[in-house]
Amino acid sequence: MNTDNFEDRIKETFEGYRPDTDNDAIWENIEPHLKKKKKRRGIIFFFWGLGLGLLLLFLYRTTCGPESPGTSVPSAASPEMPESRNAHPAPEENRTSPPDNGRSGISANRPAPENKISKAASDLKAATPKGSRSHSTGTAVVATEPLPALAPNLEPETAVAPTGIEPDANGKTATRARWSPAPFLTMPETGPLASQHARPPVMNKFAGREDENFHPDDSQKRKKQKRSPLPLEHNLTVQTGPAFAARRLTARKDAIVPSGYLDGRKRTEQPLESFTAGIFYSAITQNGLLIRAGLDYRQANERFHLAYTEKKTQQINGILTQTVDDSGNILNQTSGPKTVTVTTEYSYKDFNRYRYVNLPLGLGYRHRGEKNRWELAGGIDINLFFRTGGTILNRYLEPNPLSFGFFYYDEVFRRNTGLGAWTSCAYSRKLKDRLWWQVSANFQAPFKPVTRPDYELIQRYFHFGLTGGVVFLIEN
């Protein structure tokens, strides 16, 4: 029999078969159910950026902090610096210039009487060609060598114009402002004007050489004094523990739910254990403000159990009565149609797992005691990963295996639950210098359910956890 030929003909007939359809009616019916353009990502990235920005800001404040103006000149110790500074002490007015109120370079707006360098240096700044040995930063200008053609008034000497130095009442430039009040920062000078003016230690640093009057400890002290007003403590917390995932399964208001489906799902799925584990970085300011970011894994387990009985009744021909003797021999029997009922019991068991990986970002307060601490924190969770696997009832009340990538999975569950909220309350005690143990009670819930918006039911989880772990003090 040539069935291939026969089937090929049928195939060919259907190949280009395009029946007429009422496309307008179809579109009207489907349009309300279609997804809209995704805007979620923008929100997620916004919060991401915000969190990251805050974290970076605090890290920056910890590591850099506001410093004295001189220390921010990166090329201060440049080998190009001349060695002749102390050998040819310059008059005071030639070494300093009026402040520029924090603006970069030397300001030409404020006059500097008796200060030739000031004008020469500003001219220099305007006219310095690329490659000339002049260093300009946000706080000071260092002219290391005179350029006769461009600035004839400039003496062959290093000139430094730090900000924050203002002319005194006589019009002369005095080195005071932020440096001069601290007694340990002033240095005696062995020049004709030594008794009148004190030279700030930063000059020595710019000069790129050691000065016998310069004390390295001073700069450390100064750094400590000028350090960030919000010093941070950096912690790394690792914690894990049991959790309880409270499930809420309801019917969507605008959906037509097949009868018994909601009850069927509730009946067949029983919550089991769940747990959470996470690693978090926290930065805590001196006044207790806590900033946290990390990675959190959560898993909720459920048992699926479907048991039902199927009865089939059928008419068959068989033995109706039988007479046997003592030894088991059949003496007499009657046959005929009879009704037989076959009862089959089905039992289907599986385990469902709901897995989340979240990125928590948040703020809080930590009370810092000597030996014990407590903290209260809260924030948002960004869901990086959500998957589930196992078996659920489908709308025809059949057990339907679920696995990521399966068609039915995408009908029911989301691939990402988006944003969520978390809050935690923790208590910790000191174990060692840098090691603390911690117990924490926490709550977490995504803003969106785990089910898709076009699925008939709404399935939502709220996680209550009790975790234990350790806190490492990275830096104080």
Partner: protein
Amino acid sequence: MQTDFNLLLKSCRNYDRKAQRQMVDLLAPFLSGVCKRYDRSPANVQDLVQEALILIFNNIEQCRGEEKVFLGWCRRIAINVCLQKFRKKSLPTETLDAGPDSGEPPGVLSQMGVEDILNILDCLPENQRLVFNLNVLDGYSHAEIGRELQIAESHSRALLTRARAALQEMITKKEALNNEYR
């Protein structure tokens, strides 16, 4: 033309409503042709097409391929939607006696249109029609059919043999009737 389709597809992936509307014009007849083989009722076919289109547009990101791959994916979704309707009905078991002996394919087949073939397919028992559609017209293997319809692979083979035999018998009868009236 192919580039236009791919541009349209790209816009649909960005959930552009206008592109989706244009895509409905292209896809609805194609999906309707697929669904009609599984259910003849026009109202049911439209429901199936709508359901398939919603799934296609809402999951369009999952299909990375271009025109040919995309149409194959759409066909698969439409078939899945049709099968979901049938899954709730348990397939009745039947005795697998040998089908009628058939000879060469009847010549009348070449003169038959789609509607005639659909009418003949309609005469088949539902399970045989499903297996015939899936295996012969949609290229599903018996293993896949077994998984989709939750029946044994051997049962699927048996149903296909029955369907083939029944179809040939019907076509032969139709040819005989035609000859009689001629």
